[in-house]
Symmetry: C2
Subunit: 185 residues, 2 copies
């Protein structure tokens, strides 16, 4: 048929999940096709430059998510800073399924083609740190202190996701999320 079998947003979501879980080298075209519900050739129709283009596309998908769910919320002066942070924490908790999901930014940082993704990964991490720093400033910190706290949150989230992923113990992730308000204050 000529009509789309799967919505682009659903394809993005499945590619995101698969790359997050298996990394770039572990996510074969066969697996990606099964995950999206499309045949390999159809995936190539949507991403003519192949797997690398898919991963870069998913990274932009994540960058957009961060912009919408962290950065924009963080800057919304109509809402109290503490409330903004609660919304961000809730979004992050949902994205990572309470710690059960790996972080794409981490899984794409290891492998044969990691260099190709480094720039986009860094931009995403910077956006996250800036979002957290914005909240921290509004909670009463100087820009310099807030910037350091933002970077520290990135470190703690990544560490908690590694530990939760390796051990299966969701409390690593859960604890960091619940401590975010005090860590940014």
């Amino acid at each position: 048929m000529r009509t789309q079998k799967v919505e682009p947003e659903n394809v993005d979501q499945k590619l995101f999940e698969t790359f997050s879980k298996l990394g770039y080298d572990g996510a074969s075209m066969e697996v990606l096709a099964e995950a999206t519900g499309l045949k390999k050739a159809s995936l190539y129709h949507r991403f003519p430059k192949g797997k690398k283009e898919m991963a870069l596309h998913v990274l932009r998908f994540v960058e957009q998510w961060i912009t919408d769910s962290v950065v924009t919320i963080a800057h919304d002066q109509k809402i109290r800073a503490a409330t903004r942070l609660r919304k961000i924490v809730s979004a992050i908790n949902e994205l990572y399924a309470g710690g059960a999901n790996n972080c794409l930014l981490r899984t794409l940082s290891v492998g044969t083609d990691a260099d190709a993704f480094k720039e986009d990964v860094q931009r995403c991490l910077d956006l996250l740190a800036d979002g957290f720093a914005t909240i921290s400033i509004d909670l009463g910190n100087t820009a310099a202190v807030a910037k350091e706290k933002g970077k520290q949150i990135n470190l703690l989230l990544q560490g908690s996701l590694v530990m939760t992923g390796a051990t299966g113990d969701l409390s690593y992730f859960k604890n960091i999320l619940s401590r975010l308000p005090s860590l940014l204050a």
Copy 2:
């Protein structure tokens, strides 16, 4: 020739480095052969069950390193706790090349065969946490508090290595290492 071309310890080291850098799926037999200086068939002679056996062997290599460089040192009552910790920090700094190297326990936690390594990865992480906890107890904390601190150090080290690996900024790793004494006190 019938004699060994490369010492087993050197093979272990190169396999460790390659799996750490590229992960399991990214470390092809071809790449592993080049890294060790052996041909593929020679690697199969040493590891008849193939790549999975190599990765498991390297995990035991790491477990031994942790036992020698962290656990045993941590329990050495002949030395002051603060001095023991300095030795451990120094060893960790060297292993990770100041943050430039990825952590094998993390890179083997993602990919198509991650399940096969999970048990060993967990054991290594537990050993590390126990080593840190031992120091923390000797610095005056209760067993319960020390245990939590040990787990937190694992989280911080993993997080710092992810951030340093993704951004190239060695200070994430360096800062955590320098804070270990106060974090365990």
